[in-house]
Amino acid sequence: MKVAIIQFPGSNCDWDAEHSVKDVMGIPAGRVWHKDKLPDGVEAVIVPGGFSFGDYLRCGAIARFSPIMNDIQTFADQGGQVLGICNGFQILCESGLLPGALVRNNCMEFRCINQSLTVENSNDRFNREVLGDHLSLPIAHGEGNFRADDSVLSDLETNQQVLLRYQPNPNGSVNDIAGIRNQAGNVYGMMPHPERAVEEHHPCMDGLPVMRAFLQPLLHSSPVELSA
């Protein structure tokens, strides 16, 4: 497999992510159980949505201690491509791979809607030229309210690490932030679900260019070797 979809107890968008990459985009992908090792030859990792470990304690707070997270940390440190979607984003924030935190929506309710988003010029893969100025993507979360302290927020903005902003804001996220990347540009996280907007029968197909933007380096790079 080229793309590993991590399955935690309570993940529930793992099938969707695998389906979008493997069946829709035609890139070899498979699911990897959280207690297993990241297989050799993997070129990208997707941490999918869901309720890992029931979201008990805090979203992603238990999942970050799963054995697979050591491999993902190493993989990311070596420049491997990592995308966290929804609960996956929360896990990446909890594990420190991305800055900030996600807390309860300010409406205090779960929100499942097609959300309008504006695209930021973040890097050569995520920008308005590639993705267009606006996107519509499904959101489905109860805790998508992005929070960061002033200095982190200022760094995110200065370094153009913000990928997507809500318009209008459904959950109270600071600066309307819906998705960010790390400074190196290999770890991505977003609350919207691009994997749910890739097929004809979906409400829209704006997720496809987002998935392509993330997986684009696969076509050019050689696999990252995991050091033991």
Partner: protein
């Protein structure tokens, strides 16, 4: 009870020391003659644990003792053996019915109520309602692919009702979202009759290969019996008997009878069970521990397997200390399953559950004979013939008496309603659009994850929810609709139940789906009251006759009686849920029109009946009148025509006429695309000669479709072949105005955006900042 226990010699299990008194029998909801029957079966006095077991197994919830005879009226298989949708597992045979959807695939689906728990503890009650029905589906070996709910509440003016509504919706949202099964919405009605006794009916559908169907039978003497899932606690003690009596002011004290759900545990159990069932030949039988928990699962699997079963409660995982046999057997702790596996292959099951960090405890064995034997602390605490609990439960045919209001409804005359002047049309329409039953339910379904599993094709809010069966890798679409207008059932139970059926099937037809089968949830009052039983009997008869007429069998469902609170019974509410199939993506049809220049055609004739309508409710506060006439043949013509035209690609949008009548139907069709309007011309008032009945009457077997101008004449011509009256109403346009002219007089000129705002903000106005 405790003083009696103290006076008897010590025993390792206190339940064996309790003297069974007539009071204790009555407390268990058993009639004296039922207790006599138990004495007869056993040839001795039962101990307390055994009495508890009989009490839950012979409750209405488990034994259908007041409805079993009536349920026999439902057709359980298709007459046409060549049609798609043949029944693979019939109603009552297993945890859920299964129907064929072609290409070797089947769909398991069922609806179940959790009314009483939700009245007391709305969040947990509704959440565990979802959990229970999902277990019924994956127990069959199916991967759950959709959820819906039928919900009924009192008036939103009441702060208590708001609390119940908010709690129920958030409980469903909490549980279903965590499981990752798309919730396609369903229906929500608000009526004073549900004040204090809300209805929470939850439906789940799942998909499986024919050869993957699992049985809930304990067979093969010597095969081990496993308990899987989290430990047993004291929660939900005797929930099944609690659900089988009326709610009273004191019901709040029954809180321990309400279970507490953990959707994360259920998700683990779901994945572990599906993984285990995918191992060929491992699982012999499987049954979830829902109502009546360990009791029901052991005696039902033994009874179905024509065998005996023996379990040891010391081996049951427990999360509370000091539980006695009565408590362990009657607990309704959630997310547990009973599994019978092939002897010698125990390790294979254990490995799957170790992976998912769940208990898998070997608690017993399948035995020869017919006894269900339960041990605790080295002593036999129950030794009963398994079939006596399932097949020998008493069956009653209760006396009936026609409620007085039915005759009044039959003799009602339209002339008793003051006529509506054309100046009053807009405010009447606004009144209807803002009634919470008719208003947008977006407030509800935006809290449900309806897009997970990448299958959602038509989001909630259209006539039916539609999901692509992507996860099975098949290119077909499953459509689901729920319906039941209680007002009609109250005014005429036979016709009202038929309307629930017809409207549900019409919703599927408007979506382009051919109906396959029904699951029903019969929500009624106390069956021991002759008036309530009359309503039940006539609703079931009406529904059964409609099912037979359309050859749409009932493959399962649920009965919830004793829905009473304060002023009396709820209106009869036989909720009908139907699944249908759509073969191609381009046949999936929505209720909303997307563009200007479309021709709107009214199919089925001009509405002319006001009896039981929401118009009478919103204008005059009345639930009265003669229920609209039901013509099953006309209904069939309409639906056959709808599907034929949709399959020919002629129908751009279709919406049935239901609550609120023609004007509400037209308004809703314009609410999706921004700036859309329509100009409607009606040449006469129709059969009633009245504006109110024409615009707001809820006459049956009617729908509005949108077709292109080029197809208009062809569609009208085709309708003649179906003997179906058609009225060309006018065109959609870009004006953001809904204009209606009747017999040359303008009766309405309203901004569509204004109407939409009223419709969309009605429920949020009650619920946000409240």
């Amino acid at each position: 009870m405790e003083t009696t226990a103290a006076s008897l010699p010590p025993n390792p299990d206190p339940c064996l020391n309790v003297e069974i008194t007539p009071e204790l029998v009555a407390q268990h909801g058993l009639l004296p003659e039922e207790y006599d029957q138990i004495l007869n079966i056993l040839g001795r006095t039962p101990n307390l644990t055994e009495l508890g077991i009989f009490s839950v197994m012979w409750s209405e919830h488990c034994a259908y003792k007041n409805t079993r005879k009536l349920l026999k009226l439902f057709p359980t298989e298709k007459q046409d053996k060549d049609a798609i949708g043949q029944v693979l597992v019939k109603a009552g045979e297993e945890n859920a019915g299964v129907i064929d959807v072609g290409e070797g695939w089947g769909v398991a689906f069922k609806i179940e109520s959790h009314n009483h728990p939700s009245a007391i503890e709305p969040f947990e009650g509704a959440a565990t309602g979802v959990g229970g029905i999902v277990r019924d589906i994956f127990t069959m070996g199916a991967r759950p692919v959709l959820l819906t709910n039928s919900l009924r509440f009192g008036s939103l003016e009441s702060s208590q009702v708001k609390r119940l509504f908010r709690g129920v919706v958030s409980g469903i949202s909490h549980y279903g979202n965590c499981l990752g099964i798309p919730n396609m919405g369903g229906d929500v009605y608000f009526d004073d009759c549900y004040e204090g006794n809300p209805l929470v009916n939850a439906l789940c559908a799942g998909i499986l290969k024919h050869e993957e169907i699992q049985k809930g039978a304990a067979t093969g003497v010597g095969n081990p019996v496993y308990y899987v899932g989290p430990g047993t606690g004291r929660d939900g003690l005797g929930g099944a008997s609690f659900a089988s009596r009326e709610l009273t002011e004191e019901s709040a004290e029954d809180r321990p009878a309400v279970q507490k759900g953990d959707p994360f545990m259920e998700k683990l159990l779901l994945e572990a069970c599906l993984e285990m069932m995918s191992i060929p030949g491992l699982v012999v039988g499987i049954q979830d521990m829902g109502a009546a928990g360990l009791t029901c699962s052991t005696c039902e699997t033994a009874s179905r397997g024509e065998s005996g079963i023996e379990i040891d409660l010391d081996l049951v995982p427990q999360r509370e200390t000091g539980m006695n046999s009565y408590e362990i057997m009657l607990s309704e702790s959630q997310e547990r399953m009973l599994v019978i596996v092939t002897k010698g292959r125990e390790r294979e099951l254990e490995e799957v559950f170790e992976k998912w960090d769940l208990h898998a405890a070997h608690i017993g064995e399948v035995k020869e004979g017919d006894r269900m034997v339960v041990r605790h602390k080295g002593v036999v605490v129950a030794d009963l013939p398994a079939k006596s609990l399932t097949d020998e439960a008493p069956v009653y045919d209760q006396p009936t008496s026609e409620p007085a209001h039915l005759a009044v409804a039959r003799e009602w005359n339209l002339s008793s309603v003051p006529e509506l002047a054309s100046g009053g049309v807009e405010s009447a329409l606004l009144g209807l659009l803002q009634h919470p039953t008719i208003a947008s339910k977006r407030w509800v379904w935006k809290q449900y994850d309806h897009m997970v599993m990448s299958g959602c094709k038509v989001e909630p809010g259209s006539d039916a929810g539609v999901v692509k069966l992507s996860i099975a890798g098949i290119n077909k679409f499953l459509a689901i609709a729920n319906d039941c207008n209680n007002r009609f059932c109250y005014l005429d139970p036979y016709a009202g139940a038929q309307i629930a059926f017809a409207e549900c099937m019409r919703n599927l037809a408007c979506s382009g789906a051919r109906a396959l089968a029904v699951t029903d949830n019969l929500n009624f009052g106390n069956p021991n009251k002759p008036e309530a039983y009359y309503m039940l009997k006539h609703c079931v008869t009406g529904l059964a006759d409609a099912c037979s007429y359309f050859d749409v069998p009932v493959v399962g469902g649920n009965v919830s009686l004793y829905n009473e609170h304060g002023d009396g019974a709820i209106d009869p509410t036989p909720v009908v849920s139907m699944v249908g199939l759509i073969d191609h993506a381009d046949q999936v049809t929505r209720s909303a029109v997307q563009k200007a220049g479309m021709e709107l055609l009214l199919l089925g004739g001009l509405p002319h009946e006001l009896g039981g309508s929401y118009y009478l409710q919103t204008q005059f506060g009345k639930k009265e009148g003669t229920c609209p006439t039901v013509h099953l043949a006309a209904e069939k013509s309409l639906q056959d025509f709808l599907i034929a035209q949709i399959e020919e690609g002629k129908v751009h949008a279709a919406h049935d006429i239901a609550e609120g009548g023609l004007l509400v139907c037209l308004s809703e069709m314009l609410f999706d695309a921004k700036g859309l309007g329509a100009s409607i011309l009606l040449n006469d008032l129709g059969e009633s000669g009245r504006l109110d009945a024409l615009l707001f009457g809820e006459s049956q077997a009617r729908a509005v479709i949108a077709v292109s101008s080029q197809d208009k004449d062809k569609v009208i011509e085709a309708a003649e072949g179906f003997n179906l009256p058609v009225h060309a109403l006018g065109q959609t346009n870009d004006s953001d105005q809904l204009e209606i002219e009747v017999s040359g007089n303008s009766v309405l000129r309203a901004k569509v955006s204004g109407l939409k705002d009223a419709w969309e903000s009605a429920i949020p106005k009650h619920m946000d900042h409240a």
